[in-house]
Each structure stands twice: as structure tokens, then as C-alpha cells.
């Protein structure tokens, strides 16, 4: 007798790749705009980047319904924080909140692969990278999602992360300038889209880039093949 199999899964994989790079006084958060299921594209125009606070942007890929629920949850928590503390949450504080929120559903996880990017209280760029159940780490750069395995080695090579074993601890924030970092991110996506079917920024799909710096935030859509 064949083993019983479930005919329904509460999860789906809607694809996508997210990247964030921290600089001395800026942070670049980028994600593609494709939403897919199986071999179908549902839409070419879906944003994976969400503003949680003035200086915290969350980019998430994975199961879109869970990602959206997670974003709504964190937005609501931030609103409550603002009412109670009369100020915006700092990026490190939001990072901890995200970790706790993910672990809260440790036994029915949010199928979301997150990268949180922002500026800390001194205006320096910070990036936090997560797994689906809340393990997190402050890093200088990270990528998550279907194209991460293609992009991460490239970033490691270009951004030359110092070993975490060194003492005293070295800062992983990149010395690159903002335009150089943006160019690097575009290059990373250009490469990933060549080989990852779930991450594509061609044929009408786009790359969405959010840049946070001392002047504020700007959101740009770049169609890689046209620039």
C-alpha cells in the first residue's frame, strides 16, 4: 500500500531575489519585481521592498502571502511603537523585532527569506540577514531568495568581507561610494537573471532599488536591459 500523501500544501514559492548593501552613510536595498508560481509568471510588477520605518526597509522573497502578512504585522507593531515612544524604531530595534516575530511562528513558519536594510542611529548603513525562523546577523551585505546562491559569491568577491574571526571585529560596511554600490547591485542582478528563472529583470520585469541616505529615501526602477 502506497504511503499517504497530502494533496494540499499551505505553502507556495513565489520566487524572487533580494539584496542589500551597507555603506558608510547609505544603504542600498534591491529586489526584482517578478512574482511567479511554478513555471507561470503571475505578475511582472510586484514590489518586494517594504518600508517598515523611516530608516528600515525590508526586502523579502519566498511565499508571497506569508511575506505580506509579515510586512503588515511589522508595520502594525511599528505604529504601536510610535504611539508609545513618540519616535521611529531604529533599524537594530526593528531587526530584533523581526527575528522575534519569525521565531514566534517557529512551528508553522513564515516562508519568508528576509534582508533588512537601513541606517543605524549614527547614520551608518546596516544590513541584517535572516532565515525563515528568525536567525539573524548584522552584516555588510547580503542576498536572499532564489538568486542568492548566484549573487552571494559575487558580492563576497567584490566586497571582500573581512573574516568574522578577526579580533578586534572589523566592520563589514563597504567603503564603496553610493553610485558604485548601486552599479554593483545592478551588475549582480544582471548576472543572476541570466541563470535564475525566478529572478528576471528582463522582458518587462524590473529591478527595484531603494537607496537610503542622509538626504532621505529614493526608490528607482531600473530595467537592466535598457540602461
Amino acid at each position: 500500500m502506497t504511503k499517504q500523501q497530502a494533496n494540499w500544501s499551505p505553502y507556495d514559492f513565489n520566487g524572487g531575489t533580494c539584496v542589500a548593501v551597507a555603506g558608510a552613510d547609505y544603504c542600498v536595498i534591491a529586489a526584482d519585481t517578478r512574482m511567479s508560481t511554478g513555471y507561470n509568471i503571475l505578475t511582472r510588477d510586484y514590489s518586494k521592498i517594504c518600508k517598515l520605518a523611516d530608516k528600515s526597509f525590508l526586502a523579502s522573497s519566498g511565499f508571497q502571502a506569508d511575506v505580506r502578512a509579515l510586512q503588515k504585522h511589522l508595520e502594525a507593531r511599528h505604529l504601536i511603537y510610535q504611539h508609545q515612544h513618540n519616535k521611529q524604531m531604529s533599524c537594530p530595534a526593528m531587526a530584533q523585532l523581526l527575528s522575534n516575530t519569525l521565531y514566534y511562528k517557529r512551528f508553522f513558519p513564515y516562508y519568508a527569506f528576509n534582508v533588512l536594510g537601513g541606517l543605524d542611529n549614527e547614520g551608518k548603513g546596516c544590513v541584517f540577514t535572516y532565515d525563515a525562523v528568525g536567525s539573524y546577523e548584522k552584516v555588510g551585505y547580503s542576498s536572499q531568495g532564489s538568486g542568492a546562491k548566484l549573487i552571494m559569491p559575487f558580492l563576497d568577491n567584490q566586497l571582500k568581507a573581512p573574516s568574522p574571526l578577526l579580533l578586534p571585529a572589523r566592520d563589514a560596511v563597504t567603503p564603496l561610494s553610493e553610485p558604485e554600490a548601486i552599479d554593483l547591485v545592478k551588475t549582480a542582478f544582471a548576472s543572476a537573471t541570466e541563470r535564475d528563472i525566478y529572478t528576471v529583470s528582463v522582458n518587462g520585469d524590473k529591478l527595484e532599488i531603494v537607496v537610503l541616505n542622509s538626504e532621505g529615501m529614493r526608490r528607482e526602477y531600473m530595467d537592466l536591459r535598457k540602461d
Binding site: T2, Q4, Q5, A6, N7, P10, Q64, A65, R68, A69
Partner: protein, 248 residues
């Protein structure tokens, strides 16, 4: 494959709800110049039997929204009950405001997602469209809560057969006639190639006529059921067993 076992006991709220019984097939929706157009056939399949041929899968919701559902018909009827209550409470405020398509879509998304969290999904994929204050909206939600908005959406087989046509031929400034022709083109392909499709369809239209940002007319209309012309006189169909002896 082809097994339809219930999900393992400890996680399932109700083992009877994990298998659809009477199902509707694709729904297709597009935005056009003056509003929204949604089309669906009137079939309700019971497995491989085309059991029901007069099921209205397109409904108007409140003043501004249109709902088209595919999947389990009884769950669609349950969704209509949820929405009736939502619209009733909205009307009872009697404050001149009314829920627009964006709000209804958001509500539906939350309902579907919460049912999925309890392992008791409403086995549907729905298209939700509408116009409010001149703003067009078109979205889709499925049974696990995955949702999006776009200029054209489809459920089920429509994703495979209709969306490629829409991606190629949809334009921002489609007139009503062009929009209907485009939808009919997609529905025709579905009739030919989707075994659950029935050649009896309805199209619902929500339109707004604007002149320099002022809305002069707004309305919703559901067409009576009609059929599309199909062509079956291909010579290969005439003698279907002709090549059988020599083929693999």
C-alpha cells in the same frame, strides 16, 4: 499522482474540506479604457463530469466591485455570504462611504489567508475588480492567500492559455469592443483546450465615463449567457483514427 488523500490528521481542521467537489474553471479579467471586464463560463464540473451548465460565477459586490470565482462552488457561495455581511455592515454605517474594490480585495485576501492558516481553506481562486472614483482596480487571490494586482489577471487554466495572449495584446486604451474581442479570443482558446470549460459564458463589465476628472456615469452590467462560435471542421478531426495504426 492522482491521489486525493486528506492531509494528515493532526493538522487538519476538517478532513472533508481538502478535496474540491463541484468546481468552476478559469476566470479572466482585464482593465480597459473605461473600466474593468471580467469573463467566465457557466460550467460546474463534478470531477470529469460537466454536471452543471448554468452556474453564475460572476457577481457584483456592493457598489463598486466585481467578483469572479473559480474552484469549489460551495466555497464560492460561502465567500458570497462573507461578502454579503461585509457589505451589509458597510451600508449600515450610512455615512456616504462605500467599500471600494481595493478594500474588498484586501478583505478577501485576509479571509483566504486566515482560512489557510487554520488548514481549512476556501478552495477558490478569485478575481476581484472594480472602479471607484474613476480609479480602476483588478486583483486576484487564491486559496492560500497569494494575491496581486495587475492590468490583466486569470485563474486556473487561464494562467496558461489566456495570460500569454493578454501579455501580447493588452493595451492601456482598449475600447469596450476591443476588450470584449480580446476576452472572447481567450475564452475560445479555453473552450478548445480546457476540458472543464463549457461554451456558455458571461461577461461582466464595470464602466465609468469621465470628462476631465469628473465622473458622469458609472455602472455595472452582467451580460446574459452567450456562446462563442467554434470551428470543428478541421480535416484531421474528420477521421481521427486515420493515423492510429501506424503511430506509436
Amino acid at each position: 499522482m492522482g491521489y486525493k488523500f486528506v492531509i494528515l490528521r493532526p493538522y487538519c481542521a476538517s478532513p472533508l474540506t481538502m478535496v474540491p467537489y463541484v468546481t468552476g474553471t478559469s476566470v479572466i479579467g482585464i482593465k480597459y479604457k473605461d473600466g474593468i471586464l471580467i469573463a467566465a463560463d457557466m460550467g460546474g464540473s463534478y470531477g470529469s463530469t460537466l454536471r452543471y451548465k448554468s452556474i453564475e460565477r460572476l457577481k457584483a459586490i456592493g457598489k463598486h466591485s466585481l467578483l469572479g470565482a473559480s474552484g469549489e462552488i460551495s466555497d464560492f457561495q460561502e465567500l458570497l455570504r462573507y461578502l454579503d455581511e461585509l457589505i451589509l455592515y458597510d451600508n449600515m454605517w450610512d455615512d456616504g462611504n462605500s467599500l471600494g474594490p481595493k478594500e474588498v480585495h484586501s478583505y478577501l485576501t485576509r479571509v483566504m489567508y486566515n482560512r489557510r492558516n487554520k488548514f481549512n481553506p476556501l478552495w477558490n481562486s478569485v478575481v476581484l475588480g472594480g472602479v471607484k472614483n474613476g480609479q480602476k482596480y483588478l486583483g486576484m487571490v487564491n486559496m492560500i492567500g497569494v494575491h496581486y494586482q495587475d492590468n490583466h489577471v486569470a485563474t486556473g487554466f487561464g494562467n496558461h492559455l489566456a495570460v500569454p495572449i493578454l501579455r501580447d495584446e493588452w493595451r492601456e486604451d482598449l475600447s469596450f469592443e476591443e476588450g470584449i474581442k480580446l476576452l472572447e479570443k481567450c475564452m475560445r482558446v479555453l473552450i478548445y483546450r480546457d476540458r472543464s470549460a463549457v461554451n456558455k459564458l458571461q461577461v461582466v463589465e464595470e464602466w465609468v465615463v469621465q470628462s476631465i476628472a469628473k465622473i458622469t456615469e458609472e455602472g455595472v452590467s452582467i451580460s446574459p449567457p452567450y456562446s462563442l462560435k467554434t470551428f470543428w471542421e478541421f480535416s484531421a478531426f474528420k477521421n481521427p483514427t486515420a493515423g492510429a495504426a501506424g503511430s506509436w
